[in-house]
C-alpha cells in the first residue's frame, strides 16, 4: 500500500518533484562529467607533461562539488518536506506510524533520485563529450570522441548515493522527532518583522563601501606586496567576501524595509502588497542570500581573472621564445679539451642532422648557428666574464628574426637586451638596446665583435636558431624527436619550440581555466537551483494571499506583475553586489595585465567583464522565466480553484 501511495504522491506532486529532479539531475551530470575528465587518457598524458598538481586540484573540485551537492540535496529535500509537513501530520493523526511516514517520504525521494541519477548519468555522457570537445579545441588538438571511464562511473554513483543517504537521514531524523502540532501548523508560522531596520540599512551601505574599500586595498597589495606576503592578500579576499555577505544581508533587511517605508501611505494598486511580500521574503532568507552572493562573486571574479591570467601566459610565449625553434648544440663538456676545428666540424654535422629532423615536419625558412664566447674580465677574481658574439653570427640572428641591423653601427658594439624595448634596436646610454633577449633568454648584455677577434677561441656553447614556415604541423611529434627520452627514462630538453610552448601554456592554463569555468558553472547552477526552489516554495506558500487579493478585486495582470516583481527582485538580490564588483574588477584586471607588461585597452577589459556578466545574467533570466511560468501556473490553478 505504501509503495502505491509513494508512487501516486510522486505523480501527483509532479511540479514539486520536477524541481527536485532537475536540480539533482544537473548536479549529477556535472559530477559525472568532471570525474570522466579527471580519468580521461588525454588528461592523464597532459598531467604527466604539464603539471602534476592539477589532478589533485581537479579531485579537490569534485570533493567540493560533492559538498555542494549535499547542500543542494539537503535543501531540495527540505523544500519538499516543508511543502508537505501538513500532509504528513494528517497521516500521523489518521493513525500512521512515524516509521510509515518516513518510509513513504524516503521512497518518494528515492524514486525521484533514482530517475535523476539515471538521467544525470545519461546527460553526463553527452555533457562530458561537449566539455572535452571545448577543451581539446582550446588546446588545439584534433577532436575525436573520448572514451568513458568505469572508475568515473563508479565514483559518481558512490559519491551521489552517499550524499543522498546523508540528506535522507537528516529528513528522517526531522520526521522522527518533530511534534505533530508543529507539522500541522507549519504554514501558520508567521514571518518575523525586521528588528533594528535602520542598523541594517547602515550595514547594507557599510557592506557595499567595505567591498569597494577592501578591493582598493587588494589592488594596493597587488601593486606593492604581492611577492612579500600572500597572507595579507588572503585576508583581504576574505574581507571582500565578508563585506559582500554583510552588504547582501543589509540589502535584504534594510533596503526592503526602506521600500516598505517609501510605499507606506502612498501605495497604489498592488504596490504595498508587493513591497511587504518582498520585505518578508528577503528578511526571512537574508542568510541564504548572503551565502549565494558570495558564490556569485566567485562566479563573476573567477573566470575573469583566470581568463586574463591565461591569456597573459599565452602572450608571454611570444616574448620568452623569440625563435621558432632553438636549441643548444654544443658538444663541449666541462674540462673537455677540444680544438676550434673539431668543434666546428661537430657543429656542422649536428646542424645538418637537426635541420633534417625539423624538415620532416615543417619547412625551414632560415636558420642561424651562432657561438657564444665567454671572455674573462681582467682583474676580476670573482670569475666574471663578457659574452661575445661574432658580427657575422649576429647578422644571421637578425635575419632569422626579420630584424634590420643598422649598417652604420659597424662591426663592433655593445648590446643590451631589454624587455621594455618593443622596436628592434635603439641607441641609448651609448649601447644598443634590443628587444626580447635576442641571444637567449638569460643573456642580457653582450658584445658584438668582428669575426677575426674570435679566431682561435673555443666557443663556450653553440646555438641553432630556426625560423620555420607559418603553417600547422605536428609540433608534438617534432618535440618528441628533438628531445628524446634517454636510456634512463629522462627527457632531454635541449630544444625549445615556440609553438609547442604555446600549446603547453594553453594546456596548463586551459586546465585551470576549465576547472574555474566548471566550478563557476556549478556555483551558478547551484545558486539558481536554490533560488528557483525558494521562489516556487514562496509562491506556493503565498497562494492564499493571491486568492484574497483576487477576491478583493485585483486583476490577474496585476497579480502577475506583483509576482514577477517579487521573483525578479528576489532573484536579483544575490547578484546585486557581485555585479557591482565588476567596476573595481576593471582595475584589478588592468593591474594584472599592466603588472605583467601588457597594455589591455580598457574597452576590451570592460567588454570581457560585460561578456561574462551577461552570460551569468542570461542564465539567471532563463531560470527566472522558467520559475515564473511554473509559479504563475501554480497561482492560476489556485485562482481557478476559487472560480
Amino acid at each position: 500500500m505504501f509503495y502505491k501511495l509513494a508512487f501516486r504522491n510522486v505523480r501527483r506532486q509532479f511540479s514539486s518533484y520536477a524541481i527536485y529532479f532537475i536540480t539533482v539531475m544537473l548536479t549529477i551530470t556535472m559530477i559525472f562529467s568532471v570525474n570522466n575528465i579527471i580519468q580521461s587518457d588525454i588528461m592523464s598524458s597532459m598531467l604527466v607533461n604539464y603539471y602534476s598538481g592539477t589532478k589533485a586540484i581537479l579531485i579537490g573540485i569534485t570533493g567540493f562539488l560533492a559538498l555542494i551537492m549535499a547542500f543542494v540535496l539537503g535543501y531540495a529535500t527540505n523544500f519538499l518536506l516543508k511543502k508537505r509537513k501538513k500532509e504528513f501530520a494528517l497521516y500521523l493523526v489518521m493513525g500512521m506510524t512515524r516509521k510509515n511516514i518516513i518510509g513513504i517520504f524516503m521512497l518518494e525521494t528515492a524514486i525521484t533520485f533514482g530517475l535523476a541519477l539515471g538521467a544525470g548519468l545519461l546527460l553526463g555522457l553527452v555533457f562530458y563529450q561537449a566539455l572535452m570537445g571545448i577543451f581539446i579545441s582550446y588546446i588545439e588538438l584534433d577532436y575525436t570522441l573520448t572514451g568513458y571511464s568505469p572508475v568515473a562511473f563508479l565514483y559518481t554513483i558512490v559519491t551521489v548515493c552517499a550524499v543522498f543517504l546523508l540528506s535522507s537521514a537528516a529528513s528522517a531524523g526531522y520526521l522522527k522527532f518533530e511534534k505533530i502540532s508543529k507539522l500541522l501548523n507549519a504554514d501558520k508560522i508567521a514571518e518575523k518583522s525586521v528588528r533594528f531596520p535602520v542598523l541594517w540599512v547602515i550595514i547594507a551601505f557599510a557592506g557595499i563601501l567595505g567591498t569597494a574599500l577592501f578591493i582598493d586595498r587588494f589592488l594596493a597589495w597587488l601593486d606593492t606586496a604581492f611577492f612579500q606576503t600572500f597572507l595579507l592578500g588572503g585576508i583581504l579576499v576574505v574581507m571582500i567576501l565578508l563585506s559582500v555577505a554583510l552588504g547582501s544581508m543589509g540589502l535584504c533587511k534594510g533596503i526592503t524595509w526602506l521600500i516598505v517605508k517609501a510605499k507606506s501611505g502612498r501605495a497604489k494598486g498592488t504596490g504595498m502588497f508587493t513591497a511587504r511580500q518582498l520585505s518578508g521574503s528577503a528578511t526571512s532568507n537574508s542568510v541564504m542570500v548572503a551565502l549565494l552572493s558570495v558564490l556569485m562573486s566567485l562566479v563573476i571574479v573567477g573566470p575573469n581573472v583566470f581568463f586574463s591570467v591565461s591569456s597573459i601566459y599565452t602572450e608571454r610565449v611570444e616574448e620568452w621564445y623569440i625563435y621558432d625553434i632553438h636549441g643548444s648544440i654544443s658538444i663541449l663538456r666541462y674540462g673537455e679539451d677540444v680544438t676550434v676545428d673539431q668543434v666546428e666540424k661537430i657543429e656542422e654535422q649536428l646542424v645538418a642532422e637537426y635541420t633534417e629532423k625539423i624538415e620532416k615536419y615543417v619547412g625551414i625558412e632560415n636558420y642561424a648557428v651562432f657561438n657564444i664566447y665567454w671572455e674573462r674580465v681582467e682583474n676580476d677574481w670573482g670569475g666574471s666574464h663578457n659574452t661575445l658574439i661574432k658580427y657575422s653570427d649576429f647578422q644571421n640572428i637578425c635575419k632569422v628574426l626579420n630584424y634590420d641591423l643598422p649598417e652604420e653601427l659597424g662591426q663592433s658594439f655593445d648590446c643590451r637586451c631589454s624587455d621594455s624595448v618593443k622596436d628592434p634596436f635603439e641607441w641609448k646610454y651609448g649601447i644598443l638596446r634590443c628587444p626580447n633577449r635576442i641571444l637567449l633568454n638569460y643573456e642580457k648584455e653582450f658584445k658584438v665583435v668582428p669575426d677575426a677577434e674570435t679566431d682561435g677561441i673555443v666557443p663556450t656553447y653553440g646555438v641553432l636558431a630556426v625560423g620555420v614556415e607559418d603553417v600547422k604541423y605536428d609540433v608534438r611529434a617534432l618535440e618528441a624527436e628533438l628531445n628524446p627520452v634517454d636510456s634512463y627514462g629522462n627527457k632531454e630538453y635541449n630544444f625549445k619550440i615556440k609553438e609547442y610552448e604555446r600549446l603547453d601554456e594553453l594546456g596548463g592554463g586551459g586546465l585551470f581555466l576549465l576547472g574555474d569555468l566548471y566550478a563557476s558553472a556549478v556555483f551558478l547552477l547551484l545558486t539558481l537551483g536554490i533560488l528557483s526552489l525558494k521562489m516556487l516554495s514562496m509562491v506556493s506558500e503565498d497562494k492564499p494571499k493571491y486568492r484574497i487579493m483576487w477576491k478583493l478585486g485585483a486583476k490577474r495582470s496585476q497579480l502577475f506583475r506583483s509576482m514577477l516583481v517579487q521573483l525578479l527582485f528576489f532573484c536579483c538580490l544575490p547578484f546585486l553586489i557581485p555585479v557591482f564588483i565588476n567596476f573595481p574588477l576593471v582595475s584589478v584586471i588592468d593591474k594584472i595585465y599592466s603588472g605583467n607588461g601588457y597594455e589591455m585597452p580598457l574597452l576590451e577589459i570592460i567588454g570581457q567583464l560585460a561578456g561574462f556578466t551577461s552570460v551569468v545574467l542570461g542564465v539567471c533570466i532563463l531560470y527566472l522565466v522558467a520559475a515564473s511560468i511554473v509559479a504563475w501556473q501554480d497561482i492560476r490553478r489556485s485562482l481557478r480553484e476559487s472560480d
Binding site: G271, F273, K551, L552, R556, D643
Partner: protein
C-alpha cells in the same frame, strides 16, 4: 430606495465527471439599497454558492444577476475584477487578512486597488477605523490581534471603499458568542451609519435576527423569506428558529 442587487432565476450546476449537482435551481430575489439581508438554510442548500456567484467567484450556469444596475454575467476577467473591486465588500469567516500587511495597510487595500489618492485614503482610514473601533490597532499586524479584532478589521476593509453591497460569508463562524454579538452590532452600525447594503450568509438564527430580512434556501431554491418589520429582535429570532427547525437546520448557535 432603489434596487442594488437583483438575482433572477440564478442557476448553478457543478459537474465533476459524470456527476452533476444543481446547487442553485433558479433563485430569484432583489435587495434594496441600505438593506441588511441574511441568507439561511441547511447544509447543502446553496447559500454559500449563492454568495459566491454574486461575488463572481464562481460563474453562473444560468439566469442573471445585476448589481447596481449592471449585469455581472459574461464579463471578461478584468471586468469581473473591476466589479469586485468597485462594487463589493467582503467579510469572510476566516477573516482573510494578509498577514504580511499591517492593519492599516489591510484596511486601505481596496482603495489602493482603486488607485485612490493618498489624502482620500488617509481620511477614509481615519474615519472608518474610528467608527469601527480599530484606530488603536492600525500599526499592528493581524497576528497580533484577537479573532474579534481581526473581524473588525475585515469589516473596516469591506466598507472603506463604499461598495454597493457588502457580502459576508459566515462572518461569525470563527468567533465566540461575545465577539459574534459585537460583530453583529458592528454590522448594524455599518448598515445604519454608513448606509451599507449587506448580504450575509449564516446558519445561526441569532446572527440572522440582526438583519431586516431573512431568505431561506432549501435544495437550491428559495423556501421562504421573512421580514423583521416592527418586531423586536427576539420575536424575529423566534420566527427564524421555527423556520430553521422546519427546514432541519442547525438552529441557534449564538
Amino acid at each position: 430606495m432603489g434596487k442594488i442587487l437583483s438575482v433572477s432565476n440564478a442557476v448553478k450546476i457543478f459537474a465533476t465527471g459524470s456527476v452533476t449537482v444543481r446547487a442553485l435551481a433558479g433563485v430569484t430575489f432583489d435587495v434594496e439599497k441600505g438593506e441588511f439581508v441574511a441568507v439561511m438554510g441547511p447544509s447543502g442548500s446553496g447559500k454559500s454558492t449563492l454568495l459566491n456567484v454574486i461575488a463572481t467567484i464562481e460563474p453562473l450556469s444560468g439566469g442573471n444577476i445585476t448589481v447596481d444596475g449592471e449585469s455581472i454575467v459574461k464579463r471578461s476577467d478584468d471586468e469581473t475584477a473591476a466589479f469586485r473591486r468597485d462594487k463589493l465588500g467582503f467579510v469572510f469567516q476566516e477573516y482573510n487578512l494578509l498577514d504580511t500587511l499591517t492593519v492599516a495597510e489591510n484596511i486601505v487595500l481596496p482603495l489602493n486597488l482603486k488607485k485612490a489618492d493618498a489624502g482620500h485614503t488617509l481620511s477614509e482610514l481615519t474615519r472608518i477605523s474610528h467608527a469601527l473601533g480599530v484606530s488603536d490597532q492600525l500599526k499592528k499586524f493581524p497576528r497580533e490581534l484577537s479573532g474579534g479584532q481581526r473581524q473588525r478589521v475585515a469589516c473596516a476593509r469591506a466598507v472603506i471603499s463604499n461598495p454597493a453591497i457588502v457580502l459576508a460569508d459566515e462572518p461569525t463562524g470563527a468567533l465566540d458568542s461575545k465577539n459574534s454579538r459585537n460583530l453583529m452590532e458592528l454590522f448594524g452600525l455599518m448598515n445604519r451609519e454608513f448606509g451599507s447594503t449587506i448580504l450575509m450568509v449564516t446558519h445561526d438564527a441569532t446572527v440572522a435576527s440582526y438583519s431586516g430580512r431573512v431568505i431561506f434556501l432549501k435544495d437550491g431554491e428559495i423556501f421562504t423569506e421573512i421580514y423583521k418589520g416592527d418586531r423586536s429582535r427576539e420575536q424575529f429570532r423566534h420566527e427564524i428558529l421555527e423556520i430553521s427547525e422546519a427546514l432541519g437546520g442547525e438552529g441557534n448557535v449564538l
